[in-house]
Point group: C2
Chain length 243, copies 2
Amino acid sequence: MVRQRLIKLYGLSEPRIAEIFVKLQGKPADAVLGFYPHFPENHITISLQGEDEPTVTAELDQVQAEIFSLVGDYIFSTGNQEMEEVVGRLLTERGKTISVAESCTGGLIGHRLTNVPGSSDYFCGGVVSYSNQSKVDILEVSGETIKKYGAVSDETAQEMARGIRERMKSDLGLAVTGIAGPDGGSKDKPVGTVYIGMSSAEEVFSRRYRFWGRRKQIKLNTSMMALDWVRRYLNGDPILSGI
Amino acid sequence: MVRQRLIKLYGLSEPRIAEIFVKLQGKPADAVLGFYPHFPENHITISLQGEDEPTVTAELDQVQAEIFSLVGDYIFSTGNQEMEEVVGRLLTERGKTISVAESCTGGLIGHRLTNVPGSSDYFCGGVVSYSNQSKVDILEVSGETIKKYGAVSDETAQEMARGIRERMKSDLGLAVTGIAGPDGGSKDKPVGTVYIGMSSAEEVFSRRYRFWGRRKQIKLNTSMMALDWVRRYLNGDPILSGI
């Protein structure tokens, strides 16, 4: 019998994935590893042949454990789950609610979260603050902050994350602001520059990213990173610093 | 030489599409029509063979004109444009801005509108009011309305459309509220029941729809119908009453 397992990762570059393959070579000898880039995710499959179900499952578990020991933080699914399903399950398990303030993603994060049946139990809602005025009016981002640091900045991302959390009375507030292109980039903040912010009752923090690709790819990658922040945060894993 | 044209329709049932094919049979004799359901859109292709470009183009235009005379209101693209590109072009041409209040679509309408480069010129932003509280707090839907008619109702859709327009200071306000399922349906309002509302400076109106399918399909169909409303409104075409 042959059994296969699908492991989904996000946030690792392909050369780093290649290293895993080198390290795993030949343990066990009959494991066949497959690599499938599935933008912006990376998928690894483990195929194993064996006499019976328990033996094959045990061997699959062993290979999976090896991969976890190398890059566990980057693995978001060992079944065939989407990132939004994983995040939904974690929010449910932890009894936490979330809301989102989206600029460059235009609603994609909320759309993904609400693709999951039952998401109304943990998703309170969101604001798509495409204009600066809406950031000020609805999210209570200070006009001074936008003037001083720009709408695409750590400061604005943090105020958005704080604002949406307060507005929606949720446990977590997630915010993204960036330049999806093709226009709007500058030397300091080229197309693909994105700030992600998160707020809880205890803290507010943000990070800068630079994503590559066209408009839809930048939006997709931003939504993926933002959702991965929630996954990592709820798992107690370190938030990614750059990609 | 052979030339093909792609005509995209939305809102016609397949039996009604079949009628077009019967009526168009043999005019002109060498036109080959193709039908491709592309949920939730329907695509028709016209293929024609001829001596030279001008002759073939004239014949394609003739067949296209015949299709327009039968079901012109339902055609949203004769190039290869997405609905959101068509809506974006119309908003730009008319010099109008829009904002969206989304419940069951969770952000999908905003996501689609912002897939179009330059959409920040006409898209002010949106609110994903997944909870009743956010409908009241941010969109200023009256708690009384929700209590009396329900969150999924003509009245709530209209107040959402009015609220988002005022909040975002846009020319048009678009709102959707519905039951995407699999849970939440009732005898009166089964899964797939959706209300779409629209507001302008002059008027506010709404309609009830019943969409079929699973959660993602109901969300997609709702976003499509809402965007088609904008297209029809800006074209001066009648808004669809049911589907």
